[in-house]
Subunit: 238 residues, 2 copies
DNA sequence: CAGTGGTCTAGACCACAGT
DNA sequence: CTGTGGTCTAGACCACTGA
């Protein structure tokens, strides 16, 4: 599958995003004005604005009429409520992912929280779980379900320290477009999850149920997350 | 300054949004195509597309190249993660708001979770709390802090069953533009909050700390929420 | 194939912030 | 005042869907 053409606004977005993340701009700094960016990259203003819209929607900048685009700091993975430490910010360095249960083809759980199409029910799903650790400490346990539709050799893939989204994009041409999630606070669930997250049974835990949209029509990813927020909060913008 | 001119794309967005919420379109229905909407409302395509972008970002529609804009099912939880959800209570009837502590001018709490500018510290803040009830049952306890900057007669206002955002917009010309939040699961906090939410002391509760951006430069609203998710999930899109 | 949304251009006028 | 971002127009070509 070819990488696919990258839109100009997207390329500019990623360039500016990298500059912000890498610290070329600091919190409170002004980005070049829209007209300056036009000249710098040989683009027209709507295209530049679309790139800035993305940065704005993801919280990297805030725009102010008459002033400019102000850098707002902050990391954020695509569509994820990223983790933010209570004391120190978390870079990509100390974030680790371990596969606990490797992908297996199975049928959907009877108590699955999302309604499934007939097609999804019929083909069953890949099921696998991963543990996210911050500075070596377990924080998020992620149970993923992917409909078993045209993903050859997926069960053989190693997901450790790799982005599931990147694998889906590069190997299968599937792009994540967004999603929805339901969030609850619960007391720690089954004992095995407690031990994986290294928490006592009565610990309060965040429980997230997510359905993730892709560029394939009627193809969704599902995941259920348990998150120990004792040391870190989930962070989101809106 | 008067209520402020409403942009064309915004007007179209609100019209379509109302049609979806009112059930004129159902889940899975196709919206009129972009070109049809252009003709119907005498707008150009970029303007129409901007309205659709808003609907898309808030989860009301999903667009598919070659197919059209598909109406998405409405969220069943409480849309506190999305900006539009708080004002109009998507998907939930019987949402009620009661003021528990009326607005009082005070100083900022010593353990305030967000860093404040010197100006904010100097002027102090309005503090008030509200309780959100769904079908008569308490669900969210909302502790709000607003910097005491040029908001005449605010303490005299009645906030019951009114949108704080609407009051700020109509009476003071302040528009909410977005915000950020930190989310944790905790065991139920102080006893008075437990009794207000009608929960036992060991109940797990969602804890949200939010900073909300406005169209006024360096003017933010702050609120701390405790949410009993025993009966309802919080819902969000990304 | 026709129609859809996705991207992009090249202009225009306005409202607001800082000087 | 100048320069900023906010809004809007009127075209164009492409990639994808469904028939």
């Amino acid at each position: 599958m070819s990488p696919g053409r990258i839109p100009l606004y997207r390329a500019l977005y990623e360039k500016l995003r990298r500059h912000i993340v890498d610290g070329l701009y600091r919190e409170g700094d002004l980005l070049p004005s829209e007209n300056e960016l036009c000249k710098l990259h040989n683009l027209t203003r709507p295209t530049v604005r679309k790139a800035l819209d993305l940065l704005n929607n993801e919280g990297f900048i805030k725009r102010h009429q008459g002033l400019g685009s102000v850098v707002h700091k902050l990391p954020k993975g695509i569509g994820i409520l990223s983790i933010s430490g209570t004391t120190t910010a978390i870079g990509r360095d100390n974030l680790e992912t371990r596969t606990i249960i490797k992908p297996v083809l199975t049928s959907w759980p009877p108590d699955f929280p999302f309604s499934l199409s007939d097609n999804e029910k019929e083909v069953g799903c890949m099921n696998f779980t991963r543990l996210r650790l911050v500075s070596g400490k377990p924080v998020i346990y992620d149970i993923s379900y992917i409909p078993n539709i045209n993903l050859p050799r997926f069960t053989a893939r190693n997901l450790d320290n790799k982005s599931l989204f990147n694998i889906l994009r590069t190997a299968y041409g599937i792009e994540v477009k967004g999603g929805e999630q339901y969030i609850k606070a619960i007391n720690a669930p089954e004992p095995d999850i407690c031990s994986i997250l290294d928490i006592r049974p009565e610990t309060p835990v965040l429980h997230l149920q997510r359905r993730i949209d892709t560029n394939r029509l009627n193809f969704y990813l599902y995941s259920i997350l348990y998150c120990n927020t004792g040391g870190h909060s989930l962070y989101g913008i809106f």
